[in-house]
Symmetry: C2
């Protein structure tokens, strides 16, 4: 059994990468349109940031492979304009590609998109195509709120997004629904905005008929599905009240929850109410919560321990750790098969 972590971000990228971002923002604020030059980052710098963090933890925890994408909180789609988002996104995705090339057995790429508030979705289609066709990535992170906590885009079921979904279907890649930082002081990014976005997206999918139009479209809703499993009765009841089909027919053929829930009772609930075929292992390591839980003596986000401790069959654990990810990300499956795995 392979252990595939579907939710890892390059939260520890070399400082020069962040400096490039700061220079880019400073230039935008000064009204200068020319983008700064990409920083010179050596392979050794990348190796250092990866080996002392994500790779170290991957080994300690016993995971084999991480589906790896740029730092979500740094996507910052609300910053600057579409050109700024484009340049930053390309730099972030190219850096992920370098990590994957350095550690092809440990990481597979998922891309950030050059979204920007009010901008058309076409640039995201182009970047998805580039990342999948040219860089070998297997999926993308789609931000349902590029305004960063002001929620000014149409819901995910709106036709605004349809051309992007068509490209996802054509390329046979899933999207993780993942917001970025919040510029609304009401929403702490990882403590409120992330979780709210997960919950919001799920409810939009109940209200809409997206998967009638795109029967093979696949979304991963991270952070254990936000509030959804805890309120599963509410969502089943709302689907009924709103005269929508039952959730298992209407939404759960196309939606998957990761296991980024940082305590055993939460994971216990997730597995109790959600079909195991809809659960995919993720840790978000090194991510939102980096400390050690004084109650267990282990990292809060060492979610593998919680799955290991579940009283479910080994076959079900195999689904959560490996088989579901290979089904949701067919291009990952192809890459693994090509490696004889």
């Amino acid at each position: 059994m392979l252990i595939i972590d579907c939710h890892g971000h390059y939260t520890t990228a070399p400082a020069a990468h962040q400096k490039f971002r700061e220079a880019q923002i400073a230039q935008f604020e000064k009204g200068q349109s020319a983008a700064p030059l990409r920083p010179d980052i050596s392979d050794d710098e990348i190796r250092e940031t990866i080996e002392s963090n994500q790779l170290k933890l991957q080994r300690e925890l016993g995971a084999d492979l991480t589906i790896f994408s740029p730092r979500a909180s740094a996507m910052g789609h609300h910053i600057g304009d579409e050109a700024v988002s484009q340049a930053w996104t390309e730099a972030c995705n190219d850096l992920i590609k370098r990590v994957v090339d350095l550690y092809p057995e440990n990481f597979v790429g998922v891309c950030q998109l050059p979204q920007s508030p009010g901008a058309p979705i076409e640039a995201s289609i182009r970047e998805l195509e580039r990342c999948v066709a040219e860089l070998g990535f297997v999926g993308c992170n789609l931000n349902p709120d590029p305004s960063g906590g002001h929620w000014r885009s149409p819901p995910l079921t709106d036709r605004y997004w349809y051309p992007f979904y068509e490209k996802m279907v054509e390329l046979d890649v899933p999207a993780m629904i993942h917001v970025s930082a919040s510029c609304n002081p009401n929403f702490h990014a990882t403590g409120a905005h992330y979780i709210n976005a997960d919950t919001t997206a799920f409810m939009q999918l109940i209200q809409g008929d997206l998967f009638r139009d795109f029967p093979t479209l696949r979304f991963i809703i991270p952070h254990g599905g936000g509030a959804v499993p805890y309120h599963w009765g509410r969502y089943r009841g709302l689907a009924d009240m709103l005269k929508r089909p039952p959730l298992d027919e209407h939404v759960m053929r196309n939606v998957f929850f990761d296991t980024c829930v940082y305590h055993q009772p939460g994971i216990d609930l997730l597995v109790k109410v959600i079909d195991v075929d809809n659960i995919v292992f993720g840790s978000e390591m090194v991510g939102a919560v980096r400390g050690i839980d004084p109650e267990t003596g282990h990292y809060f986000d060492d979610t593998k321990r919680y799955i290991d401790a579940l009283d479910i069959s080994q076959a079900d654990k195999h689904r959560i750790f490996e088989l579901n990810a290979r089904r949701i990300y067919p291009r990952l499956d192809q890459q693994l098969k090509a490696r004889g795995l």
Copy 2:
């Protein structure tokens, strides 16, 4: 043991009440400042709406008393202006008072506030004072987002809200943190906006130091605390990362979660991770989810059944059903004692 339901709304108010609201909005839209006359609603009309709904269910379910407030989704603070909100709020609260006067053993009042986007908080202070001192209400519903899904107010820890908290402390009444309808198409009201607001409020309280300034201030976060108990590890870890005190010292002396979670596994989780002294019985009946769960044959929101089924001591159930509510709402406790209860 009394069974006190802390979360009931008058969702079934007589049609004339809603017509008054529609007339009010129509006048505002036409630019007419004069408010329409209050409708003539007979006691019999009120009796009919209550006896065939809330009172019927209260009896069927075996609850004794409901802490009763105007329909939350109809508060509509984002509609009209402050004067519109004021007139509507007074009408709503006065109607609750009539219900309480007709059924003093079954209902106790909690008020809506005349909040309005960008308006000062002073009108809410006056209405709280009126409802508590003149109408005998025991608490209020405080909307952290009067803009209705655009989140344009400052966080609950901001000094904007402090004069209102001072009045709450002076009157010794708690607030349930409860948003109203959403005019942002991203957020379904009861499926996303409500739950997001609960989660958002809790995270604001972690970030701030509100209870250092108001050690006796008390908030009920409804709908089982939004996503919080499911992500309890995340919140404990975030408090640690943000160098905040542990949650039990920093937030949980002042914050309580109701039991409006509509399936057994959710309630099981709630009671497992949250101290029983912080859990207060609520059903939201007749509320967001009105159907019967095909898996159980009972109403989704018959939350008493889930508590009854818990494997906890009778003493702990007594806390959830009665004692915590009497502690959180001291004016309710006084009223009950005056009735010899």
